[in-house]
Assembly symmetry: C2
Homo-oligomer: 467 residues x 2
Amino acid sequence: MGHDSTESAIERELRGRIAAGPAGARLPSTRSLVARFSVSPLTVQRVVQRLVRDGLIETRPGTGSFISARRQLGRSDFSWQTTALGAARTSMQAVGTAMALEANSPIVMHSAYPSEELLPMRLVRAALARAARGGASVDRPLIGGLPDLRAWFASEIDANAPARASGVSADDVIVVPGSQSALASIFRALAQPGDAIVMESPTYWGAIAAAHQAGLVIVPVARGGAAPDAVALDDAIATSGARLFYAQPHFANPTGALWSAAERAAILAVVRSRDVFLIEDDWAHDFGIDADPRPLVADDTDGHVVYVRSLSKSVSPSLRVGAVIARGPALARIQVDRTVTDLYVSGALQAAALDVVTDPGWRRHLARLRVSLGARRDALAGAIVAQLGPETLTHLPKGGLNLWLRFDDRVDVRDLVARSLAAGVTMAPGSEWFPAEPPGSFVRLNFSGPHPERFAEGIGIVAGLLA
Amino acid sequence: MGHDSTESAIERELRGRIAAGPAGARLPSTRSLVARFSVSPLTVQRVVQRLVRDGLIETRPGTGSFISARRQLGRSDFSWQTTALGAARTSMQAVGTAMALEANSPIVMHSAYPSEELLPMRLVRAALARAARGGASVDRPLIGGLPDLRAWFASEIDANAPARASGVSADDVIVVPGSQSALASIFRALAQPGDAIVMESPTYWGAIAAAHQAGLVIVPVARGGAAPDAVALDDAIATSGARLFYAQPHFANPTGALWSAAERAAILAVVRSRDVFLIEDDWAHDFGIDADPRPLVADDTDGHVVYVRSLSKSVSPSLRVGAVIARGPALARIQVDRTVTDLYVSGALQAAALDVVTDPGWRRHLARLRVSLGARRDALAGAIVAQLGPETLTHLPKGGLNLWLRFDDRVDVRDLVARSLAAGVTMAPGSEWFPAEPPGSFVRLNFSGPHPERFAEGIGIVAGLLA
């Protein structure tokens, strides 16, 4: 210690003078430092050489040491990183504007998370407070998650049809900090860089970004207001050799599409016959309005469906808790990736989430939420039909948080979105949800933001801009 | 809805009978189902075909439908996944036993996280309770993290030497959910699969696993009780073409080594001259005993050092909050990867962490912690020297949580660890910290677990097993 700390003291002394003095000022001589700190000249020389190497001082033989003109206070030079890093695989462009921007406009029809009045805030606050008092505030949970929370996620697969037991058990569940990390892990764990992944188009921007991050090649399959065509899907899988098919079968983001019973059966048949993993992103599980779809994983016998669900949107953005359900070796692969990526999810958040969803108030909240979402959806859809024309609304979804609008192909959507923002209305350009070029002029409107009473006014502003 | 729900009702009816009845039992005829549900025979046929496809029933033309012998209740067949998944890049073997196992033995000298009495639990509980009441329980934080928390992490770089301002600002900080996710993101963002990464050997198993996950080739550089040799490091970088060098300069896990002032200057000079990123994992920042090292990032002018720190070990395993500090394009690359991997860190956890570390009680806690860790280290080291011989203790570290032991090369460490566990003593085989074959028989002992008063007894048991 002694030696190091004397050297440090000398360095501190010199750095203090360098920070305070003007460039070119002379620093104390080696001899004076030797005397003052009772060290050898070699020790002082080591410090001086270090400061020279750092560009802080210059030495002139026989004259002394001086504060360098290009000392640290100058501008840093990061240009070497350009060569070191090479070309980028993903950029911030890949991140949806809902995450990247903080909307300050008065009329928000573009929000990543539902506004506070749609969340069970009383339950969330009580659950976090209980977690603060309990063991969850200190314990590290088991890898994979709290057993009771895993069992709850498994039970939810059958919640709407308990007579049709799915066979999903707590052992098939991995607790994750949200859908996004689940998708990133699944894509990495079940595919190799350069592999193909089939995706519906349009689809969730975060899945597109996660696939790029994993080095996968996206093979888009078009869909209308419903499921992708099973024959087209089969063909895309056969041609690309993809082992992964990512889909949102229920209230898809952004279209709101819900696969019918016939469509899901046909698609599951393709997935089985081609030995493909169907990654079922059940992002809107808690946002049913006129339908309560049963997850596809419930009908999966041999581990073809990898299921993803999150509570971040329906419980609270602060309770970053979700689940992956998978069976067979795929489950083990995903668990390893999750552990290497993140070790585990905060026990306090897991305990609080479990507390919320097992409270009797949770079901009551979901029942109220359904009514609220239905009223918001219908009011916004009504305003669109009345002010933008019925052809603009592609589809009235049976659940979810979004409406998907299509304008005349000549409408420049980026321009429209920018002018709307300037006029106080936020909405999302449809291009963010397409893995390739958008085949038309689309906009997504989210009806879960604050001040739904102003949505109609917002649509009026958009109509004015279009006119 | 109408059509779908009748089909569902028929399917539910049949699945209920399949679940309840014995294999081979006859199911209701198409005609009886048509009559009972008032649907067309085609509708019934669709349901039956689906159940046939699912392997739940068998049809015999002219006779009827029967419960299949290989219905879902039987064993699932995941063997197709073997082909679909191909060979694995990482396995659970890569995950350190401290994470994978739950130690139930009475004498724990192998724990991933310090025991409760070493944590500021009063502050943690109070902070989580405040977070539950405040806006953090509902708000989504800005990407990058809470501004005040980012500013706090930046200020910590200079905390022990404020006169030597590092120039690190809140803008250079990204809040992450812990060191592990930081390392996974940094390796992915700053390198491409197939690239080389230089690492000290031995080093943290989680960094080894994260490098494998990112598809990197590890180039180990040996170190003794101190820093790797600068000439050897320079040579390894030049030969491999690595752009990344991962290191723990302060109280390294597992050895406890602390780079001297001369070593850090020499290594920084290599890093600068070779245009390499030094990933500084400051995992034990809060665990100084006889030294308070200043992070290397404080001496970095041109963005060569990427700094990682976590509060999970020093505040609470439940407050999964840490930080990455980087400058230049590297910062942007890492931020994109974090966003695509995880979107953001829970605002409630960020607010609670900020609350803990800005409470006056936090500094008082750290002062007490230093004394506790010093006493634990010295007691364990004393027992080792007395019962296993002074040559067994490689080094008395000035901080951190671990002692690094070396036995005679003929000792089979896996066997010793297994027999110790059977005798009620957990310790970690040294092989987990080597990216390649261990060059000797090493064991890591962690002195932050519960019941330190029994450590000497544990060492006695190990000595007995060795005798």
